[in-house]
């Protein structure tokens, strides 16, 4: 969508509201009231995150907004769609966010492979600047903002927000200790907000149409809409913007068309590769953060990966473990040494040499690599499909041991 088309559909209207006197505190309050939660995976309330940024006369003059567009979570394909399809939505959202925390500089940390996204964002930035939405003294508000697209070069850990800040500074992208939190001391030691692309894309609607409108979009207890994707052997894989709170079944059957003919649903990861398996019995659970947490998984990125009855669950988990092992940044021992070991054991299973002892080692690693045991959330993310896979697909692991091969290949 170019800027004219975007403006014709109420694009950049939120900036008119700001120009008419909406203060940063007003915007912050609206975002808090909206109930918006981060769409990058953790689901942290956006308004609350912003409120930790120092404000007022004593606050550091330079602050930064960083948009996390590193999308590399396996099975996740939503931010790309937003950036390619509606780049001005992201730019408008960034202006709102930067205005609220009074950041005069913003970076989009973009995955290097997203070449088309980069081109469209850069064009959108020039168009917005030509209209006076970016640059100095935006619409006479006295607020300045420049946006720079920074392209990365392929490393999953850069999506972790403190590793991302190190990467932007040109350092090796290992995570930082928290505290201090980036909101207080982030990029080059300045207060910094890191938000996901989709989170930021929620802002123009909230400011333009209001909090009541935003609340009205929802079917469940969480507010707003969300991009939901389905991949795997369904009839019509894809990504759709839907209200939070619909039953999973509606997404899976209504939008994705259900399983391809001749296949049955075995299980699914509800929100990318770092989430716990859910089962067919969970299809009536609602698509919102709390409902999915209640059954032991996470909504996370909202992009479901479907496991069918003719695909090997052990192979699927093994594929994920290879990814996590490869993408471990190597900073802390349990993750650096543990994940390659786990990966190696999956190779053994794949080639028919898996043993009961190996199975026990996998179970042990679910604990060794769990939350609180490692420096960042990468390794705990890996334990989600690992632990739930071991539990729900135990018979498949056992079959690999007994038959000394992958039963799905023979």
């Amino acid at each position: 969508m170019d800027i004219a088309a975007y403006e014709a559909s109420d694009g950049y209207q939120s900036l008119q509201a700001i120009a008419k006197g909406l203060s940063p505190d007003d915007v912050l309050q609206q975002v808090k009231d909206s109930g918006l939660k981060g769409r990058g995976g953790a689901g942290f309330p956006t308004g609350l995150k912003w409120s930790f940024v120092p404000r007022g006369g004593d606050a550091p003059k330079q602050k930064y907004l960083v948009v996390n567009a590193d999308e590399m979570e396996p099975g996740t394909f939503k931010d790309r769609l937003l950036m390619e399809g509606d780049p001005h939505l992201l730019i408008e959202g960034m202006i709102i966010a930067a205005y609220t925390i009074q950041a005069s500089k913003a970076y989009i940390f973009l995955r290097g492979e997203y070449i088309v996204s980069g081109q469209r964002l850069n064009r959108a930035i020039s168009e917005a600047a030509a209209r006076g939405y970016l640059g100095k003294n935006i619409l006479g508000t006295g607020f300045d903002l420049d946006i720079v697209v920074h392209t990365s070069a392929g490393r999953y850990i850069c999506g972790e927000e403190t590793a991302l800040l190190n990467a932007l500074e040109g350092k090796r992208a290992t995570p930082r200790a928290k505290p201090p939190f980036p909101q207080v001391s982030g990029l080059w030691g300045k207060p910094t907000i890191v938000n996901n692309v989709e989170t930021i894309c929620n802002l123009p609607g909230i400011i333009t149409y209001g909090v009541d409108w935003y609340h009205g979009l929802t079917k469940g207890s969480d507010h707003g809409t969300k991009l939901f994707g389905v991949s795997g052997k369904v009839k019509t894989p894809g990504c759709w913007e839907l209200p939070l709170g619909l039953p999973i079944r509606e997404l899976f059957e209504g939008y994705a068309g259900g399983m391809q003919d001749g296949l049955e649903l075995r299980g699914f990861l509800p929100g990318g590769g770092s989430t716990d398996f859910m089962l067919p019995e969970h299809l009536d659970v609602l698509l919102d953060y709390d409902a999915i947490a209640k059954v032991g998984s996470r909504l996370a990125t909202g992009t479901m990966i479907i496991l069918d009855n003719k695909t090997c669950p052990v192979g699927m988990v093994g594929n994920l473990m290879k990814f996590f092992a490869h993408e471990s940044c190597g900073f802390c021992t349990p993750c650096r040494d543990g994940l390659p070991w786990v990966d190696e054991i999956f190779n053994e299973f794949e080639s028919g040499r898996g043993s009961e002892k190996d199975l026990q080692i996998l179970h042990d690693h679910v604990d060794y690599l769990g939350p609180g045991r490692t420096f960042c959330a990468l390794a705990p993310g890996a334990t989600a499909p690992l632990g739930s896979g071991l539990k729900h697909f135990k018979e498949d692991f056992d079959q690999h041991i007994k038959q000394k091969c992958c039963p799905y290949k023979h």
Binding site: F77, R155, P237, T303, F323
Partner: protein
Amino acid sequence: MSSSDVKMSNNVIASTATRPRKLSAEEIAEIEHEMTLYPDKRAVGLEALKIVQKYQGWVSDESLLGISRYLDIPASDLEGVATFFNLVYRQPVGKNVMLFCDSVSCWIMGCENIKQAIKDKLNIDYGETSKDGEFTLIPVPCLGDCDRAPVMMVGPDLHRNLTPAAIDKIILDYQNK
């Protein structure tokens, strides 16, 4: 796989360079532009590596030293950044780099058959370059197009819903380019 895993079938490079390559005028102009976008020179390191790679195809030891001198960043620091990222190539690569998604959704949709088709056609495995110097095959994590899996990039182009038959045609198209 990291760039350090990239092997060239017919070429071995020296592991240490003592003489920096002088950066070209184009490379310098682009690096200078990047420097206006960040408050600190060090932040431009990765971008400079990518700029050089764009012109040279890969980042040789001599190029790395050249950037290190130009930006006044210790070579060891810059090397630390270069080896960290999957898409900075520290070994020569073919004319077209195939970034092959082997993550979970593509795996479910049969990317192993696609990889086999590439292997059959070009006789290369991950990290290798075809004899004619046209293609290097590198695995990448999820390319964010999982609803159209299996997926790979060839150079800047994305190819979706891959089938073994489609591979033949894609390879031909690039060979004829």
